[in-house]
Amino acid sequence: MTSILKKFPLNRKQWALMKVLISVSVIIIVILGGLFLDEGRIVTNLTNRNSPPSIDNLFGTDWLGRDMFTRTVMGLTLSIGVGLIGAIGSAFIALILGMAAATMGRTADRIISWLIDLFLSVPHLVTLILIAFTLGGGFKGIVIGLTLTHWPTLARLIRAEVMQIRSADFVQVSQRMGKPRWWIAVHHILPHIVPQFLIGFMLLFPHVILHEAAVTFIGLGLSPHEPAIGIILSESMKYLSSGMWWLAFFPGLCLLMIVRMFDSIGDNLRLLTDPNGNRD
């Protein structure tokens, strides 16, 4: 390890940037793969059933002779897509509620804080299943469910941050200089919120993807015709006992990797945007 570090004398911020770039490129490759891989590889091919991983079929094939590598990549793309919509929706709910709680007076703050506490006191997964089930499952149900359940932690964070900055001396000075409220919001408060928001958004992502997979896995999420990771995993469970480990192993591992990538993007962005992080 030390010899590598000597060859590439990067400081911590440069490392962080590297990690972000690597993670982003892996995710982009997966998405492009999902869009452009040959769909012919996932049609039923009964002559090549249940084969273990090989050069031709990197992740092996399943009981219908479909290439698991292609299925996994497509499943991941779908999961990332669902995750993206869910995370964007959740993050915006969090932003709006967080800002409203911090700026719209005591009553608004009380109601929103109560709502946050309510959602936090029940595990995500339970509310998510409930909402998805009520809406009849499927793509729409799961996306709305994800959006409505993942905002509370980020909302709380944003509320606290806005409140702190609002009472900061430099904001009060700005008010005395006759700066209107919107100006202060844009120039003083937003620059502090944006990094927090982006990081929070990035960290929501893996959460959303995992929960999507989990709900789909138990059959309340996406329909079995869609090649989602959750579906692949739940189908593969049946074949695990017959020794076909690759059916669940590779998709599971890839899901884990993608989730870690988003985590790492979030963490490293935090390091890069910290204004006081000028130390090593």
Binding site: A168, D169, F170, Q172, V173, S174, R176, M177, G178, K179, P180, H188, P191, H192, P275, N276, N278
Partner: protein, 199 residues
Amino acid sequence: MQLEAKDIGFRYDDGPWLFRGVNLSVEPGEVVGITGPSGRGKTTLCRILSSYETPLEGTVTYNGAPIPKKGYHPVQMVLQHPEKAINPRWKMHKILHEGYHPDEELLALLGIEQEWLTRWPHELSGGEMQRFCVARALGQNTRFLIADEMTTMLDAITQAQIWHAVSEIAKKREMGIIVVTHEVKLMQRLCHRIIDFSG
């Protein structure tokens, strides 16, 4: 054009009264010192005069009328700790130009070097940051300046530099100054009149 506080009283929530019935008036061009033991509310009085805080009793008037809530405040305050009065995510030139664009002469008077303008706040020392806070507070429409322990954290040379600049500008513009400091010698140097604020 005087700044006047009448029968001011203040307390936090249901706590004991910090002070009541405080009267104070400052004329343009006048330098008034406020002294007194710590913890008696000198800082709170300053915050009330510059509308950072609303008094529970009494009124603050400028020119005989209450000070409007919106627009540039004629009473500007410079605080003790510049690092708190500065947005850490802004570069120094943005901080300096928040209220208005100070001219070269003012910057030279305060010893602000051009090269500092492109820096981040954490790259400057407390004394350097405080010069920016003072420059920022000296807009054309500032009629009164409140210096609450403005140079307490600074060395003697920087203190003298800042006060020379501020006094010169105050004289030129007929600006009133309220000085809060524990340093008796400094107060004697600067003030025309000293008020003992013992609560």
